[in-house]
Amino acid sequence: MDIDRLCMGCMTEKPGDEAKCSNCGFVEGTAPESPLYLPPRTVLENKYLVGRVLGQGGFGITYLAWDLNLNVKLAIKEYFPQDLASRAAGHSQVSAYSGSMGSQYEYGLDKFLQEARTLAQFEGHPNIVSVRDFFKANGTAYFVMSYVEGITVKEHLANAGGVLPVDQARGILMPVMDALKEVHSVNILHRDISPDNIFINKKGQVILIDFGAARQAIGEKGRSLSIILKPGYAPEEQYRSKGVQGPWTDIYAIAATYYHLVTGKQPPEALERLVEDPLEPPSKLGAALNDDEEKALLKALAVRAEDRFQSIQDFQDVLMGKCTGGVTAPTPAAINQAAGAAVKTETEKKAIPLSLIIGVVAALVIGAGGYGLWASGVLGGSDADVTTDQSVGAGPEVENEIDAAVNEGSVQTEANYFGNSGGNISNGGLAALQGDQIFFRSNQGGSLQVGTSGSGETRAISVDSAWFINVSGDYIYYSNRDDNNRIYRVDRNGGNRESLTDNGAWFTTLADGWLYYLDESDDYRLYRISSSGEGKTRLSEDTAWSLYIEEDWIYYANRDDGNKIYRVSSDAGQKEKINDNASSSINVADGWVYYINEDDGSSIYRMKTDGSENEKVIEQPAWFINVADGWIYYADEEDEFSLNKVKTDGTGRVKLVSEAVRYINVIGDWILYMDQAEQDNIYKVRLDGSGRNLLESGF
C-alpha cells in the first residue's frame, strides 16, 4: 500500500502517480470546498488519514478517512457547531467564540464525547452505527466510525417513488426499534430519528446513525438561536427547554418516520399540531394499514407525550400483531427468513424484506459509478454523493412493474426540443406536459407527481420539492428546492435520480439536450450544462434575472444594465441588447418579445425579437405574464391580481379568476397558479376560467 497513491476522494490506491483518480474523479491537491474543513491528508492521532468531506451540518463535519494501521476505510465525525466556533483556513485548530458561545461550545463538546463513549458500548451491534474510537484533538473532538456502503432511507424512499408498502416500511423500522430499545435501556435517547438518519447497507441491514445529543445539548443552553430540529419528526417536548424527554420522544420520531414512509407525507410540525391538529390518518392517504396498526401509529404520534406509548416494546407489541386486526401482518420472523434466504446475513442480525434488498442492491449497482455511500453523521442531510449512472440500465423488478403500468397510457418518450414552455419557466415551471402526461409540483411539499389528462389519477415520482420542471424523453428535470435548488433528473418511475449540478439553478430550461439556467452561486449568471450533467459553460458575464429561450437565442433581463433585455446565442457567440426599459417576465412567441415594462407602470409591452416595433399591448399593471396560443395570461395588479387573459394584440380581455394569483402556468387545457392568499397551494382552472379546483383532483 503506497499511501501517496491513495485517492483522498475514495480511498482506493491509484495505479500510478496521476493526480486524477480514475475511480472517482477526485484530483489530488483539490482544496476543500470550505476553508472550515480539514484539508485532505491531515493525519489525526498519528493513525487516521483524513480525506474529502462526506457531509456537513450545523453541528459537525464528517470526513472520509483511512486507518493507517489497519488499512481500512473509515468515516470520522468532527464536532463543529458552526454557530459557536470557527477555524482559520489551512489550520486544524478549532476555536470557540468568546463569552457564552464558548461555554455552550464546551457543553456540547462534553455531550458529544459522552455520547461517543456510550455508543462505543454498542460497537458491533448490527443496527447501530459502530463507534470504533473517539478522541479530543485540535480543540475539538472526533469519533471514528466504520465506513459502510449503502443509502439512507430518505434516498431509498425517493428511489421508490416517495411511498413504501407497509410491510417494507415495517421491515425497515422494526430493527431500528429493536436497536432503540437497547439504547434506551442505558438511558440514551437518539433524539433525531428521521429518514435521513437511518441507513441501509449493502446487505440490506438497517443502521441507526447520527445520534443527536450534542445538538440537543446546544439547543438547551442556546440563547436566541433558532432551534435546529427536524420539523415533522421532532415532538413538541423537544421544542421546549423544560420539555421532558424520554423514550416517548424517540417513539414520536420513529412513528413520524413510519407515517412518512407509508403515506409519502411528512407529518405536520409538532408545534402546529398543538394548535389545531391537521394530521390526517394514514389510511386516508392511501396507506394499507389495518385498524389496529393505524391506531398504534396515531397513538405513537400523539402530540402530548403522556398520550403516547411509553416504551418501544409497547408500541412494537401492537404493531407486531399482538392484536386482532382484520389483516394479518407478516411477523418479523417471516421477514427475517425471507431476508436470510436472499442475503448472507449473520443469523442474529436483523434484516429487512427481500423486496427491499433487491431495491437497495439495484440502487447500489446503479450507484457504482465510483462513489461509495457512507454510514456516518450526514448532518443536515447532504446526500449529494448518491450518484447514479443511468448507463447501467435495468432497474429492479419492482420498477418494471410500474413501468408496465405507465406504458399502458400513451407515453411519448422521444426527446423533445424544449422541456417546457418558456412562459411556464418564467412562472416557476410548476408543471410540464408530455403527451397526455402532466408532470407537476404537487401541494404535498412540492413533491414531483404525474397525472394523466382526463383520468383524474395522479402518481408520485419523487419526494423532492421540484420547480422549473422540464420533461424530455424518459427523464424529468427540475430544480430541487430540498437540495439548494440543484438540478436533478429522475426517470418517470422515480428511478435513476441524480443531481446534475453542484450549484443552485433558477429558470432551468431544457432545450435541444442542454439545460440552461441562472447559477445561484455565481450571482445568477447564465450557464448551460448538457442534460447528462456535462460540459458546464458560462454563456454571459452579465448577472441576469428571468430567462427565455427561443430559436437558439436566450433572452434575459440584464441586472448589470438596469434589467434591460439582452439576448445571447446558445453558443455564446453573439450577444445584443434589444430594449431600453427595465423589464421582467420575458416571453417570446411568434417573433415577438412580450415583457412587463417596469418603466411604464408595469404595463405589458411587446417588440420584435430584434427590438424593433416596441409597443404597449395593454395599459394595465401586470405580474407574471405567460404567452400561449395567441393569448397573454397575466395577473392584474389593479384588480387585486385577478387572473386575466388578453389576445396578443391587446384585444378581447377576459377575467378568468378573481382571486389573487401568482405563477401562472399554462398546461394543455389547464392553467395552474398559486393562490396568493394561501402561500404554496396550487390551483388549476380551465383556459376559459371554469372548473377551478385544487391540484390534487387530477386532470
Partner: protein, 242 residues
C-alpha cells in the same frame, strides 16, 4: 395622505446592537423595516443590517405596492444574505428576524418572520398584531399558556423561524392589503422593546401623544424603567397616517 414616522434603536445593556431599523418614502410608496439579528456572536448585526439595506435598495430601485412587490423585495434580500454568506466565506449562519411594512397610496401590507412584531392601532385601539414564530407563541395559541405569559416564558428565545433563504416558506404575509384610515398607527418593534411595553401601555401612550416622536419617547421611558441590567437591544419604528 400624510405619514409621520420616527424610529429608535438602542443597544440596551449590550455592547453590540443587532437590531436595525430603516425606512424610505418615495412618491406615494413607503417601506419600513425592523430587523433583529440572531446569533449572539458577530453575524447578527451583519445579517439584520444587510437584509434591511437590501430591502430598502430594492424598494428604491423599484418602488411599488403589492404583496408581490413585497415578496420580490424579500426574495432579493434572501439572495443578498446568501451572497453575503458566500462572500464572507462564513459558514456560520446569518439569521435575523424581520418585519417589513409596505404602504401604497391608501393601502398597507406586511411580512414578518421571527419574534419582531408589527402592531396596528386603529381608533386608538389595538386592531392587529403579528404572531411570533416562537415556541411560547405556539404554546399560547394552543392554550397551554396565556398570551401574557409569552413575555417572560423560559423559551422566549426559542424561535421557530427566522429570515434566511432556507426558511422562505415560513414568512407570513398579511392576508390582503389593508385599506388605511386616517389616524391609523403602526408600531414595528424588536422583542427587547415589546417585552417591556405591554399592549395596554402602547394604547395609553398613544392617547397621550400626537406625534410618533412623542409616542416612542413615552414608550422608551417604560423600557428604561423596567429593564434589568444587561437587557437586550431595543428598537421601534412608529408611523401615523393622517
Amino acid at each position: 395622505m400624510k405619514i409621520d414616522v420616527s424610529m429608535l434603536s438602542n443597544p440596551g445593556g449590550r455592547k453590540v446592537n443587532e437590531d436595525y431599523t430603516d425606512y424610505n418614502i418615495l412618491d406615494e410608496f413607503g417601506c419600513y423595516i425592523m430587523a433583529d439579528g440572531l446569533g449572539g456572536h458577530r453575524g447578527g448585526d451583519i445579517a439584520s443590517k444587510a437584509v434591511a439595506k437590501s430591502i430598502i435598495s430594492s424598494f428604491n430601485a423599484s418602488p411599488g405596492f403589492s404583496t408581490e412587490k413585497l415578496q420580490e423585495y424579500m426574495r432579493n434580500a434572501a439572495l443578498a444574505l446568501e451572497q453575503l454568506r458566500s462572500a464572507e466565506r462564513k459558514e456560520s449562519s446569518l439569521k435575523t428576524t424581520l418585519v417589513v411594512l409596505l404602504t401604497g397610496e391608501d393601502k398597507a401590507c406586511w411580512a414578518h418572520v421571527g419574534d419582531s412584531r408589527l402592531y396596528l392601532f386603529r381608533s386608538g385601539r389595538l386592531a392587529f398584531q403579528t404572531r411570533d414564530h416562537s415556541v411560547p407563541q405556539h404554546l399560547a395559541d394552543s392554550g397551554s399558556i396565556t398570551a401574557d405569559e409569552i413575555r417572560f416564558h423560559e423559551d422566549r428565545n426559542r424561535l421557530t423561524a427566522s429570515f434566511d433563504s432556507s426558511n422562505f416558506n415560513k414568512i407570513r404575509y398579511s392576508d390582503k392589503p389593508v385599506r388605511l384610515e386616517e389616524g391609523d398607527r403602526f408600531l414595528l418593534c424588536s422583542d427587547g422593546f415589546w417585552e417591556y411595553v405591554i399592549e395596554s401601555e402602547m394604547e395609553d401612550s398613544l392617547a397621550q401623544s400626537r406625534t410618533t416622536q412623542k409616542w416612542l419617547e413615552i414608550m422608551e421611558g417604560k423600557v428604561i424603567s423596567k429593564a434589568e441590567e444587561g437587557h437586550d437591544n431595543y428598537s421601534a419604528l412608529a408611523l401615523i397616517v393622517s
